[in-house]
Amino acid sequence: MQTFKLGGVHPPENKLSAEEVVETLALPKQVIVPLGQHLGAPATAVVNRGDEVKVGQLIAKSSGFISANIHSPVSGKVFKIDDVYDASGFRKPSIIINVAGDEWLESIDRSEDICADIKLNQKEIVDKLNEMGIVGLGGAAFPSYVKLMVPDGKKVDYLLINGVECEPYLTSDHRLMMEKGEEMLIGATILMKGLNTNKAMIGIENNKPDAIEHLTRLATKYKGISVHSLKVKYPQGGEKQLIKALTGREVPSGKLPLEVGCVVNNVGTAFAVYEAVQKNKPLFERVVTITGKSIKKPSNFLVRIGTPIKELIEAANGIPENTGKIISGGPMMGKAVLNDDIPVVKGTSGILLMPDTEAKRREINTCIRCSKCVSVCPMGLEPFLLSKASMLAKFDIVEKELVMDCIECGSCSYTCPSNIPLLDYIRLGKNKVGQIIRNRNQK
């Protein structure tokens, strides 16, 4: 069974909504579309207060190389363009649209027919993805077209499609593979064409045997695409770990996957690519899992971007009385949010509600030097040392011990028997060291 070698943990999977077919969520009354949903520069609004917009209409333009277009997820009137609280409570510029009807742009092909014939050439594919505002849907929301722009002298051997979904609870990718497998494979073929490679590997953890079987059967029709079953281990969905698991190649520290001839895309992204290229549909909706042990109806919804997560929670039969934490994303790398008014953005893969008994951190004890954190670190670091040095503000040691290699997967904090929040301290050290390095480079 293929997997990555170094470290890793196996948290309880809790895939509560794995069998729930994706439903379309009813349109909300108002959507809040933040301008900075992706990695890189926030987009610039191109609509004004009071403008009428249609579904799929461009409302904010990419403002740099690493940036992405944003399209209206609903039809209606722009209520205002203002700063709105994001998930962390910082106010960020957003476009607020009052929903009226559901009128789509005519250019979008809304039929369910599968079109496998790829008409665009490589350059056109790249431009199309840029135009349609496609970003990575795995979480980081990196603009996808940038990944297809392979610099001269570099060659892509493999396109890797990430169907691992190693985060506990989340099932949106799983459902997508089950329900839109065909489309996703066409999307992968488009990406292969865009990257000028003829080999693609889809990695799926073996806790999703139905998806593995389904895609293996479908993939026989598509040249060059193979489906690989991977042993369940977190953080296999991490780019570097997935490349290691599928190809055995190790991305050198501080380098991009391109260095070893690989490009990784999420299954959700592959589906979005299909819709953008074949159906001319911009990225304005995505599948979001709403889950949690206390929630009555864990489900998967197709949600328009900008829908407040409150609506999602309502659709899953409301917020339980004992909710202690709302997490955007999975429990290992997701972000605790301040309230349920925040909108779904392109990178939202799931909303997880935790009962207060689970949400609170446990009491911290002294380090007993059990070295479990060292053995689970997928990057071969020494979390105990990094966190202690960060705690004592010895940032020269933190840097020397390679803190910048940390992928913040949280395996160390997860496994620590003394409940030490190792990653909190390491992240602190990483931020500081990042600042120190930036200052040094400026000089």
Binding site: D83, Y85, S88, G89, F90, A336, L338, D424, R427, N431
Partner: protein, 309 residues
């Protein structure tokens, strides 16, 4: 037997003498000249090694001063004018006279004024929390209350008040600036101590517009410019939706204090009886400012004063 003794004493003595001679020459050869005034200056300095002067420690500061040959820009905030005068007399130079400063906390978002909306459950450092989220009260400019400034202080001059959840500075403060650097939100500012230790400052640095600012915190500066308009000395500047009082221009006339609709402007160490009593509202607000908003600071300062006198 005697011979053995003599041999031993003789040979050891000879080795000792040879070694002493070698050491003497080596010491001569590698002698480093050091200006004796560096030691004298260092002696005069408070040897807190806090780094408030911008040098790595008191010795580095002394070296820098002796090397520079003048005292422009050299100031020991801990020792203050006295120490600098003393140093000046050692070096035969003129001291760069600076006014004494003190750290001021420009946030009044206490548990009462800006109630908790969420509960922070991470490690207790502001540096970590400030990256993670806006703050318990919802203000992304306000104090996080996790005491990085208290930890950074070498002089026991800053403490958390458990009732308000905010730090408070006492008169131990030497204005070394460690807390200013430690605060990830730049809330702490060094301001001059002022005549009779009287100070007026805007206790808010939030840059939000009025409505959202007020929603998070009842004593936020909402950028209404009322104080700006009333100030006769042009000491107040409005920038990014907030007022800032320039302490060099401020004449402590206190006109701005009563006009502030959110009580964001604080005055401290002013005697209560001399309150402006012309307007009833003014009395009300300033009384509130003194009694309700900064009771602890006020008290703390009074205590320190009595202790000093």
């Amino acid at each position: 037997m005697n011979e053995v003794l003599i041999y031993a004493v003789g040979s050891l003595g000879a080795i000792g003498i040879v070694a002493a001679v070698i050491l003497f020459f080596v010491a001569q050869k590698f002698k480093v000249y050091e200006d004796p005034r560096i030691d004298e200056v260092e002696e005069a300095l408070p040897s807190a090694n806090c780094g408030g002067c911008g040098y790595a420690g008191c010795r580095a500061f002394a070296e820098g001063m002796v090397k520079a040959g003048n005292m422009e820009g050299f100031n020991c905030p801990v020792g203050g004018a006295d120490v600098m005068q003393q140093v000046a007399s050692i070096l035969g130079l003129v001291a760069d006279v600076t006014e004494p400063m003190i750290a001021v906390i420009r946030c009044n978002g206490s548990l009462l004024n800006s109630p908790k909306k969420v509960e922070y459950d991470g490690i207790a450092t502001c540096a970590s929390a400030s990256v993670l989220y806006a703050g318990d009260g919802g203000c992304s400019f306000g104090c996080l209350g996790l005491a990085d400034c208290v930890v950074s202080c070498d002089f026991d001059a800053i403490h958390m008040n458990p009732e308000t959840g905010l730090p408070e500075v006492n008169n131990n403060c030497t204005a070394c600036g460690a807390c200013v650097k430690a605060c990830p939100r730049d809330i702490i500012e060094l301001r001059n101590v002022g005549k009779k230790e009287r100070r007026i400052f805007v206790s808010c640095i939030n840059e939000e517009k009025g409505a959202p600012a007020k929603k998070n915190c009842t004593v936020a500066c909402i950028g209404c410019s009322k104080c700006f308009n009333v100030c006769p000395f042009e000491a107040i500047e409005m920038k990014n939706n907030r007022a800032y009082i320039d302490y060099d221009k401020c004449k402590l006339c206190r006109k701005c204090v009563p006009v502030c609709p959110t009580d964001a402007i604080h005055e401290i160490n002013f005697p209560l009886k001399k309150l402006i009593v012309k307007e009833e509202k003014a009395v009300e607000t300033s009384a509130e400012t003194v009694s309700a908003k900064t009771p602890a600071t006020e008290k703390q300062d009074e205590v320190n004063k009595t202790e000093e006198s």
